[in-house]
């Protein structure tokens, strides 16, 4: 991953306080275009707060944040149009069918019905879900739901897609198929910003950052982090950083 690539997310001295509690303490980092960026941290380290700010859902207390070239303070609407979002908790409407969900989210992002129809065919073919188009989401296995949710999150060809623990509880085969989809999106130029508790998944990322107590403690490629921390896996690195007193 060359440094010549442009930055798609730039964060400078980001601070977010809730009363006296500092959720994000002076974060600075960049994410490059087309990169798979792993955003790791213990529970309560401040990941969710940071992701919310990057998605334009919450304003920082101070600091400079640019996402997809737009300023987080004045241009949140433009940011929202250029990003996709998917989480473990909310992704699709359970009581709508596969096809209805696609049409709904396509419509939300202002895609014409003809284009939606064409792209829907490609999408369903690629996922092998053609026969399931009129089935309710509620009846699908979790792995399929999440793969579909991801396809829908990038349906409007956003420049960045935010994935918040997208594979929690998904079976091991579907989890890997999911990551193959992530690679594919990345190779098409979509930047992927992902949080996960599966440490093996952290190894799939181009670069990872590890947060603890509101600060970014480390940020580099998985290989480099393992070298610096003399660890065999990202999991070891994570444990050393997140709870230094324990080891």
């Amino acid at each position: 991953m060359g440094t010549e690539k442009e930055n798609i997310i730039t964060v400078r001295n980001l601070v977010k306080k809730f009363g006296s509690f500092i959720a994000n303490d002076n974060l600075s980092f960049e994410v490059k275009k087309g990169e798979i960026f792993g955003f790791l941290g213990a529970n309560g380290a401040g990941k969710t707060t940071a992701v919310r700010i990057l998605c334009g859902l919450s304003a920082p207390t101070s600091g400079e944040v640019k996402v997809a070239g737009f300023d987080i303070y004045g241009e949140t609407e433009k940011i929202k149009r250029n990003i996709g979002y998917m989480s473990q908790k909310f992704s699709l409407y359970e009581d709508l069918t596969v096809s209805e969900n696609i049409r709904l989210f396509g419509g939300i992002y202002g895609i014409s019905s003809r284009e939606i129809r064409e792209k829907q065919e490609i999408l369903l073919n690629r996922l092998g879900m053609n026969a399931l188009r009129n089935k309710l989401i509620a009846g699908l296995p979790l792995g399929w739901k999440q793969k579909l949710a991801f396809s829908i999150a990038i349906f409007h060809q956003p420049r960045i897609v935010f994935l918040d623990e997208p594979t929690g509880g998904v079976d091991p085969i579907a989890r890997r198929q999911f990551w193959e989809m992530i690679y594919e999106a990345s190779s098409e130029g979509i930047t992927v910003f992902v949080t996960t508790h599966y440490m093996d998944e952290a190894e799939y990322c181009d670069r990872i950052s590890i947060m603890s107590d509101g600060k970014i403690m480390a940020l580099d490629t998985p290989a480099e982090l393992k070298r610096i921390y003399t660890a065999r896996s990202v999991e070891e690195v994570f444990v050393k950083i997140a709870r230094p007193d324990k080891n």
């Binding site: 941290g41 213990a42 529970n43 309560g44 380290a45 473990q88 296995p141 979790l142 792995g143 623990e165 929690g168 509880g169 998904v170 079976d171 091991p172 085969i173 579907a174 890997r176 990551w179 193959e180 690679y183 594919e184 990345s186 190779s187 508790h197 599966y198 440490m199 093996d200 190894e203 799939y204 998985p222 290989a223 896996s233 990202v234 999991e235 994570f238 444990v239 997140a242 709870r243 324990k246």
Partner: protein, 304 residues
């Protein structure tokens, strides 16, 4: 002495969905038994039958030698259960939650404090805090304390580590080991395959069926296939190219490696080396390795 749990041909369906299909299983006293499988595999349903909360459609379930259908009253006193959604009262403080569960089981916090002292010490500084304001890891520890406060003989934990970070997970498993030393039988479910190695014995479950039951070591030892892990500088292209390879049976990403099995296990490292260098991959590494639980699981899933 009888088994901690004896499940005999248990089946359960909800409408058209078969949640459990002819599940037979034995859990020994004082072991850590892991039920490993993804969401929707039937783990929660099996646990609810074990904890007398559901009745099987077919088959029978004996826990501590008691029938979960007829002797559920007696059983409920002796089982500690931690449901998947940590059943804490969000508007009660840490202390209040604990003492509430103690009174429900007709005991007091002080009476059995020794058992939870170690775990509780992690959350004691926050004992006046509302449970709703705890972080995931602390909620998990409080829920475990609540499930233990009546000194159960068997502890049933439904996905206690889901959504919890890797560090808290590690701490949690250390706690379980200590509880085992105190003579408690522990039944735990998890979707994280790497946690299997921390159990004495595991059952792999998928689609309501038990695919295998054994010690984690034996499960991987008896794995019949040859696995190669492969890496190169370009992970995504590596996966794509391996899918194209004529002798490929399966290709799955595992961390920074790809796990590869060949058709009929007749592929040799040299062949892979050659194929990948033909595809212009750099820094190629191909090695035959021993399988992990996840390899076994994926393989068994494929067979179903």
């Amino acid at each position: 002495m009888n088994k901690a749990i004896e499940s005999i041909k248990v089946s359960k369906r909800f409408g058209e969905v078969v949640a459990l299909d002819n599940v037979s299983l034995e859990v020994n006293r004082n072991e850590i038994f892991g039920l490993i499988g993804p969401d929707g595999a039937g783990k929660t349903t099996l646990f609810r039958i074990i904890t007398t909360l559901l009745l099987p459609d077919k088959g029978s379930m004996m826990v501590l030698g008691l029938d979960t259908h007829k002797q559920y009253r007696e059983l409920r006193k002796r089982i500690g259960y931690m449901p998947g959604r940590f059943s804490l009262y969000q508007d009660l403080t840490v202390e209040e939650n604990l003492s509430f569960y103690a009174t429900v089981y007709g005991t007091t916090v002080r009476q059995n404090f020794e058992l939870i002292a170690d775990i509780y010490s992690h959350i004691e500084p926050f004992k006046k805090r509302l449970a709703g304001q705890l972080s995931g890891g602390m909620k998990q520890k409080l829920a475990l304390s609540c499930a233990l406060i009546h000194k159960p003989e068997i502890l049933v934990l439904d996905e206690p580590t889901t959504g919890v970070d890797a560090v808290s997970r590690k701490e949690f498993w250390e706690m379980l080991k200590k509880l085992k030393e105190k003579g408690i039988t522990i039944l735990v479910s998890t979707p994280y395959m790497d946690e299997a190695s921390l159990c004495d014995r595991v059952a792999l479950i998928q689609g309501g069926k038990i695919m295998d039951v054994d010690t984690p070591r034996r499960i991987t030892e008896k794995f019949p296939r040859r696995i190669f892990h492969v890496s190169s500088d370009e992970m995504h292209r590596l996966i794509r190219d391996l899918h194209q390879f004529a002798k490929t049976d399966s290709v799955f990403a595992f961390g920074r490696y790809v796990h590869f099995t060949g058709i009929d296990d007749e592929v040799e490292t040299s062949e892979l080396d050659k194929y990948l260098s033909d595809q212009k991959h750099t820094n190629v590494l191909v090695e035959e390795i021993g399988p992990g639980i996840e390899d076994v699981f994926i393989n068994l899933m494929g067979q179903q």
